[in-house]
Amino acid sequence: MAHIPNEILQAMVDHAMDDLPNEACGMILIGRSDRQMTVHRVTNTAASPYRYEMSPLEMMKLEQKRDSENLDLFAIYHSHVASAAYPSPTDVRMAFFPPGETDNEPMFPETYYVLVSLENNKPDVRAFHIKKYGEISEESIESEN
């Protein structure tokens, strides 16, 4: 089960809306001791409704921030503007290094992949782990205030 406060869910939906018509992407960091979450928007350098590519330099800066402020990478999120909140085959492929090498450990085994779908009037947010061999396991989101 993924515990995610309502305001964090809302911040990801807001980001997805702001970046329409393109996919939005970002990261949720969490304090190792206080468990406080923060949403960090990352530029989608692909600037496309069908793809995202997180700006590598922004990612690196967030990784340095994680080290210096004692944070963990809780979730990687992105939006689907016209499809369900479920990892696509490309999403699964790209969770491995090199892409598609699903016999390797995934790049972020502990991190939730959060999908925000804007396909219907009401945005849908779901969380997953992407595991070795490309297995997708959904983790139900428990939202709290």
């Binding site: 992407c25 330099l57 016209a82 696509s88 490309t90 892409p99 790049m107």
Partner: protein, 92 residues
């Protein structure tokens, strides 16, 4: 030329688990060769068989993507920072 190399996540595992280290090289290409001397197998993960940079690996000289500079032939000078970062991407 002595440069600082920054890496993240999976690429960190290819260089003994460090995020930042010093290495040598007159160009990005020779830097990769030098890193590969210390960490055999490194360049196989970073370069295609034909020696080109893999599409899902990004290399920055200071804050510039080397694809917009001189690619792997980009020259390095002392105290440069080179960042070697995997793509984090996906699709619909």
């Amino acid at each position: 030329m002595a440069v600082t190399v920054n890496v993240t996540s999976v690429i960190e595992k290819l260089v003994g688990g460090q995020r930042s280290f010093e290495s040598l090289g007159d160009s990005v290409k020779s830097l990769i060769e030098n890193i590969n001397e210390t960490y055999p197998g490194f360049s196989d993960q970073i370069l295609e068989e034909d020696g080109e940079l893999r599409r899902f690996v990004n290399i920055y000289l200071n804050d510039e993507d080397i694809r917009y500079l001189d690619g792997l032939n980009t020259e390095l000078t002392d105290d440069d920072t080179v960042s070697i970062l995997p793509a984090l991407a996906g699709g619909e």
